[in-house]
Symmetry: C2
Subunit: 199 residues, 2 copies
């Protein structure tokens, strides 16, 4: 029986390690890379090497950054008294897009998930407490995902930070704007009712 | 507004060019690559470069090969009088896995698909006719996919090859082994009835 040549098998194996890429997708991707011009493949390979060399994590908030300190932390116009805590660097972009937040960030690096073996020690809570210890921070906005792990993380964070005399708030859950009551799941609709505001 | 750092944007853009990878998957993959150890990322990048350098197409059948001639074409035990025509190199592996074929192959490089701008000139029909011109080939088994493009390719191939006095056969369509009559689509079931064999 003919198997794929070794370099191709190797690439398929490497691609299989990526999240969401199974053996069939890996095979398809590998054959695609085989079919494209050499320069295009080289450009992709270089881009992968590049991010490992040029992208670092901000020494203050752990946002991704080309320098030692990210563009948010080095921007003196951003309010240093409010920190928005997120799970991943990409969540910062999501918050930035809203234009509704002018403070600083802190990236935990994930959410508490015992089932995946991620406890508080695996996340950047210690670094957050250190930042709070330096003083001047009044409010922590917890913007972890509104799922079980994100909620658990928010609860843990609240217990950790509140004794330090810092206000802890959680972003609101409710119906998405433009959504339809009829199609809302009952948990979301329940949260929307709980979180109702006076008009 | 903070955008992703340039090397990250670049990687996301490169990943978006891959088939089946949209902007969201590209973003997830890029962040994954950011999170893995540098050596793992380097290994993936090298694997991509490697296939472009080490993998060639067989000069006879256009199978993928580490040398100039692939392992099937250079195997003298394989029957040189029968050629199985497939769309892609990976189809060869699928046929090899069956163990039902002991001849040689010819990879067309795709199927005729006017909607995608792929006509007979874009495929390796000329090279196949050249192989037939060298004589000694008795049968061509057309193993293109059993879809519209694959069927069109089979019909075109048959018209091209039959005048040369070579038998052209098509792999059978019908119910998959282990399948269920109840769940078969009508076209497949129709084909299975048309292609019935005496017991």
């Amino acid at each position: 029986m003919v198997l794929y040549a070794e370099p191709l098998e190797n690439l398929i194996e490497q691609l299989c390690r990526l999240p969401g890429i199974g053996p069939k997708s890996a095979e398809r991707l590998a054959f695609f890379m085989l079919s494209i011009p050499r320069e295009d493949a080289a450009r992709l390979a270089e881009a992968i090497i590049d991010i490992k060399e040029k992208i670092h994590f901000c020494g203050i908030c752990f946002n991704i950054s080309e320098g030692d300190i990210c563009s948010v932390c080095s921007d003196s116009r951003r309010d240093p008294t409010t920190i928005c805590v997120v799970e991943e660097p990409k969540d910062i972009l999501a918050v930035e897009k809203t234009g509704a937040f002018k403070g600083r960030y802190h990236v935990l690096g994930g959410a508490i998930s015992p089932i995946d073996g991620i406890g508080p020690e695996e996340l950047r809570f210690r670094e957050l407490v250190q930042r709070l210890g330096q003083g001047g921070i009044r409010e922590i906005i917890v913007a972890t995902n509104p799922n079980a792990e994100g909620e658990a993380t928010a609860v843990y964070l609240s217990g950790l930070v509140r004794p330090l005399g810092v206000t802890v708030t959680r972003i609101a859950s409710g119906l998405p704007v433009g959504g339809d009551l009829e199609y809302a799941d009952e948990v979301t609709l329940g949260r929307a009712i709980e979180g109702r505001k006076e008009l």
